[in-house]
């Protein structure tokens, strides 16, 4: 049965420009401060008539845009029509949908709205091909329609233990990701509100917090403490609320993922369109043998700033192995057969050394050129050198695990990128490109680096450092990727 409908009226807000907010806030504030007299109201109208006119035009334009968008869906396809003068119609068949995501933020839930993201292997890079804001009832009907088009054979369902999730979120939330969320939040807010207002709110809050803590600690230490603690707390809250109630269900052709308490998300992922899975670990989780399972599939993890590609949040290796066996039975267990060469171990420390030298050089320059800044520079250098030391530790561990493996038509890649360890398993037909690279130093030692590009919305490169050149070329040739190694570069 076909269902035809318009988007939820909340969509009107996103069709207004940011000037709408710049106009409406002072207008409401001045209206609120008026006395209950007709003369005062007349004076207000006289002063604000142009603002009111612009406001009305913005609302009118948004309303026309909202009216011009229609959607209809049945048991096999969704059609989205839009445009005032020029009509554009998108038809997406459910069989081509790689990922369907339905998200409800706290505000959307209160208003009874849902945001629907539809992604296929064609169209926009790193974003959904079609995005519609539906009423909750329409979104539920559409979800059921897509679900109805998939095979009905429930095989396996997994949900992380809540207590363990709380504990792991406490232990492994990172300050860096928290700070990144703050930056993303500020940038997003800046799209709506004025940058000056946004900067003032942020700086005022930060200054107030620093002043309070400064009663007990020196100002520079209090600022660092607040940034670190605030970043960590935000990362913790995002992890916990994002993964609370997480359920992964596997059917013969699909994966269903549900999660979140503040923002509720539902995803339907077509298994045959998954490009690879990735076991991600931080240094700490590597030591404790914990990891999180991610997948790369067009449209999954690209619907918002806090969206991740995870299908099983951080948990024990045993649970991950069980899930891999159930969810990806055709994939072999990740095993590395070609490891990085001990002669290239020195190269693993290149970036940690660069990151340590730069702040040290800056400190020496400040020490001689601006001696009065020494007090500020000293703790700043100490803080900036810590990540370099941490990176050196990660790279030390990375030296022993980096490598490649191939089994049953699947390529395993183990490597680290900055502070994260990856174990990627990709089917051979999802390998887009292989680049074997040799720097002059590597040429002297007979080693190389392999960059493996996999099918993806965006350029996705897996960089395996420090392999023996002859072994790497023989490995790829043996597995059907002929790099013409007998033909030496001239």
């Amino acid at each position: 049965m076909e269902r035809v409908g318009r988007q939820h009226p909340v969509r009107l807000l996103s069709y207004t420009t940011r000037y709408f907010w710049l106009l409406i806030i002072p207008l409401i504030r001045s209206l609120y401060s008026l006395t209950l007299e007709i003369d005062a109201f007349r004076a207000w109208i006289k002063g604000a008539w142009l603002d009111l006119l612009v406001l009305a035009a913005i609302i009118c334009f948004a309303w026309i845009r909202w009216l011009s968008v229609w959607f209809s869906f049945d048991s096999e396809k969704i059609v989205l029509r839009r445009g005032v003068y020029l009509n554009v119609e998108d038809t997406v068949y459910y069989s081509q949908i790689t990922t369907l995501s339905i998200k409800q933020s706290l505000i959307y839930r209160l208003l009874g709205a849902s945001k629907v993201y539809i992604a296929t292997n064609a169209g926009n890079f790193n974003s959904a091909d079609v995005t519609v804001t539906m009423t909750r009832a329409d979104a539920d009907r559409f979800y059921e329609a897509v679900k109805g088009s998939r095979r009905k054979s429930l095989n396996y369902s997994v949900s992380p233990n809540k207590l363990r999730l709380l504990l792991f979120s406490l232990l492994f939330s990172s300050t860096l990701s928290g700070v990144l969320i703050i930056i993303a939040l500020l940038l997003e807010t800046g799209e709506v509100f004025d940058r000056e207002i946004e900067a003032r709110i942020f700086l005022d809050t930060l200054t107030e917090a620093v002043n309070r803590v400064a009663q007990y600690l020196p100002p520079i230490i209090s600022l660092i403490t607040i940034v670190l603690a605030g970043g960590w707390a935000l990362s913790f809250i995002t992890n916990l609320t994002g993964f609370w109630g997480f359920i992964l269900t596997k059917c013969s052709d699909c994966l269903y993922v549900k999660s979140g308490i503040l923002t509720k998300s539902r995803h339907v992922i077509l298994r045959s369109k998954i490009n690879y899975f990735d076991l991600k670990q931080s240094f700490a989780s590597k030591v404790f043998n914990l990891s999180s399972l991610h997948v790369n599939c067009s449209g999954y993890g690209s619907t918002g700033r806090d969206e991740m590609t995870v299908i099983l949040p951080i948990t024990t290796r045993k649970e991950i192995n069980g899930t891999l066996k159930e969810v990806f039975p055709e994939y072999p267990r990740p095993k590395v057969e070609l490891k990085s060469d001990p002669r290239s171990y020195g190269g693993f420390y290149f970036w940690p050394i660069v990151f340590a030298i730069l702040p040290a050089a800056g400190f020496i320059a400040i020490y001689y050129l601006l001696p009065s800044w020494y007090v500020v520079a000293y703790p700043a250098v100490a803080i900036t050198v810590i990540p370099a030391i941490w990176l050196a530790m990660c790279k030390t561990l990375s030296m022993f695990i980096t490598g490649l493996g191939f089994k049953d038509g699947y390529l395993t890649m183990r490597y680290s990128r900055l502070f994260t360890f990856h174990t990627v398993v990709a089917p051979k037909d999802r390998i887009t490109k292989i680049v074997i690279r040799q720097s002059p130093f590597q040429r002297m030692g007979g080693s190389c680096s392999a960059a493996v590009y996999t099918s993806s919305d965006v350029k996705t490169k897996h960089y395996i450092y420090g392999l023996r050149l002859d072994k790497a070329l023989a490995f790829f040739e043996k597995n059907g990727f002929d790099l013409y190694y007998s033909e030496k570069p001239r």
């Binding site: 037909d429 292989i434 690279r437 720097s439 099918s455 993806s456 996705t460 002929d482 001239r490």
Partner: protein, 149 residues
């Protein structure tokens, strides 16, 4: 497997253009910066130094080192200047091909082919017009064959 190299005419024209640019820069600098002798000679030296470095050393090295291998199942490129690279792409991964050429420059080897796959590209630069046609034809046949399978 077919083997292609870059067209030397493109190298000669690039080198020639660099030396012409340096000569033109020398004239302009000698007219307008005559009162700042040190700066003038430094800039002239820089222009000619870069021309010699690129025109006589780096570009010839790049042209000599770049070899393209096309077989029915894969595309392989050996290239690089300081960093040597062996690039490999399966024919089955190719989504589409972009050809870039200009009316007169095509005779000098300024024909480029960009092979696009989901998640990565390969650029085949400075091909002769015949090589460009031949590569595009091979890829076209192979893509159609893969689609037919």
């Amino acid at each position: 497997m077919r083997k292609y190299t870059l067209k030397p005419a493109a190298l000669y024209s690039l080198g020639g253009a660099m030396f012409l640019l340096s000569a033109a820069a020398t004239v302009i600098l000698r007219v307008y910066l005559v009162s700042f002798e040190i700066l003038m000679y430094s800039l002239i030296g820089l222009f000619w130094g870069l021309s010699v470095l690129f025109g006589l050393i780096l570009l010839p090295m790049y042209f000599r080192r770049t070899v393209i291998y096309i077989s029915p199942s894969e595309i392989t490129v050996h290239t690089g200047l300081i960093l040597l690279r062996r690039i490999h792409m399966k024919m089955s991964a190719v989504q589409y091909v972009t050809r870039i050429s200009a009316p007169i420059l095509t005779l000098l080897g300024f024909n480029f082919i960009i092979i696009r796959a989901l998640g990565g590209n390969i650029i085949l630069p400075f091909l002769s017009a015949a090589d460009s046609d031949s590569i595009a034809d091979i890829i076209d046949i192979e893509i159609n064959e893969h689609r037919g399978q």
